[in-house]
């Protein structure tokens, strides 16, 4: 029963603390939804969890002890941007990204995962033909391919149509039901069913930070 937690994290942007003394804890099979208005630090918190941004204070722990290498090996980051090259086909993009994230890079394995996320038919289409929803689903395929324990997804549902959104939510829910962990920065926590909600703006500098039982 692994636990991924952060102790009194704070993040500085420019010369100001956008959030302070924030702690969180997430166990297997759980989804943590980060909410709060834009600019309150949701994305920055996610980037700190992913190790892409150094926190001003505080630390991240896996099963209670600091282990940055382990975290770096088991975190999968999906930001608001879509790291797909429009000229290359879906399979070529995924081959590259999967190779970077340590997943399989042979066509067969990728094709089979693409079938699972419903993009099998388009595997040889250049990405520029795909809609934004289909591109996000391609990235969801990468989530499966990379087999990483902790999924960090930033605003997955914006510019997605209904059908794309359901597909994504189902994908993440299936994953967490099988014991994975997911932290999602979102404006619509109700989409993600029974998930613990952490309002990042509550930890704003100066406001009294109430601990939210994770």
């Amino acid at each position: 029963m692994a636990v991924f937690s952060g102790k009194n994290l704070s993040c500085a942007r420019g010369h100001r603390l956008i959030f302070e003394d924030l702690s969180f804890e997430i166990k297997n099979g759980q989804i943590l939804a980060l909410t709060g208005p834009n600019g309150c630090g949701k994305t920055s918190l996610l980037r700190i969890m992913a190790g892409l941004l150094d926190p001003f204070t505080g630390s991240l722990e896996w099963n209670g002890e600091k282990n940055p290498d382990f975290l770096a090996q088991n975190i999968l980051w999906m930001g608001q941007e879509t790291p797909l090259k429009p000229q290359l086909s879906v399979i070529e993009n995924l081959q590259f990204l999967s190779c970077i994230m340590g997943g399989p890079s042979d066509k067969a394995a990728i094709q089979e995962t693409l079938e699972k996320t419903g993009l099998g038919r388009f595997s040889h289409y250049p990405v520029r033909y795909l809609s934004m929803g289909q591109r996000r689903r391609t990235l969801l395929t990468l989530l499966y391919l990379a087999k990483r324990k902790i999924w960090l997804i930033d605003e997955p549902t914006n510019h997605l149509d209904k059908e794309g959104r359901d597909h994504l939510v189902k994908g993440v829910m299936d994953y967490t039901n099988q014991g994975g962990m997911a932290v999602i920065a979102t404006h619509r926590p109700e989409l993600w069913g029974s998930c613990t909600v952490l309002d990042v703006s509550a930890f704003d500098e100066g406001t009294a930070p109430e601990r939210i039982a994770a």
Partner: protein, 242 residues
């Protein structure tokens, strides 16, 4: 690295150095100009135009010295993250460029009467011209970013890379000079630095001292500007984000 290192200590220190440098600058330059223009004898070959050398050579020394000092500041910024060093690079670069420009202009004004052309592809002059572009590069990179920390880091790295390249450039220009130099020019360039005559050396050194003090004065003024503008940048961020 919030703010900058020990501001208070820097404040008093800079005020003392500024005053001292200003006083010495006036003394050295006054004495130097007197020596250069009035007291020193004309050169037997170039007659009066040697007086231009009393600015040309110190300016060249200064432009090299300032770039070297920026390289040291770049090292301290990159290794010890000392933000004051980052401000120094932004403060010193324009002064270095100014000295290089003076060196080039006085060089061509000296070239016209002595060599008959406004610009002579002499090895030293060409290296100074390249150094001028290195300075422009540092200044351009310095304010190419909106995030001040990034622009400091980037220009520090450029100064480092430039300082590694400078000796290579100097060597290659000198080698190039031997390759393409028509015979007539070699005799002229020997005349350009005819083994400094002792009573010419004194005004040269005094003027160099004067330029150095002038540099210190300008550097400190510009350094204060950089620190103030960083303070305002922080204030603006704070007022906007509330």
């Amino acid at each position: 690295m919030f703010g900058y290192a020990n501001p208070k200590r820097y404040q008093q220190l800079s005020r003392i150095i500024l005053a001292l440098a200003l006083v010495f600058a006036v003394i050295f330059l006054g004495e130097g100009l007197y020596l250069a223009l009035i007291a020193s004898p004309p050169d037997y070959q170039q007659s009066e135009t040697v007086r231009i050398m009393y600015i040309h050579v110190p300016a060249a020394w200064l432009s090299m010295f300032i770039y070297a000092s920026m390289a040291v500041a770049a090292l301290t910024l990159i290794i010890w993250k000392h933000t004051l060093a980052g401000f120094y690079i932004r403060a010193a670069a324009p002064i270095g460029a100014a000295f290089t420009a003076i060196c080039l202009i006085t060089g061509s004004l000296w070239g016209q009467p002595t060599w008959g052309t406004w610009w002579v592809w002499d090895a030293r002059l060409t290296s100074v011209l390249i150094l001028f572009f290195l300075y422009l590069g540092v200044m351009a990179l310095g304010n190419a970013y909106d995030n001040p920390d990034k622009s400091q880091q980037a220009s520090a790295w450029l100064v480092l890379i430039g300082s590694i390249n400078l000796p290579i450039i100097k060597f290659s220009v000198e080698w190039w000079n031997t390759l393409h130099q028509p015979a007539s020019l070699t005799s002229l360039s020997r005349m350009a630095n005819p083994g400094i005559h002792p009573d010419m050396l004194v005004p040269l050194l005094v003027m160099a001292g004067g330029f150095l003090c002038l540099f210190v004065v300008l550097a400190i003024l510009r350094l204060n500007n950089e620190i103030l503008s960083r303070k305002i940048h922080v204030m603006r961020l704070r007022t906007i984000h509330g």
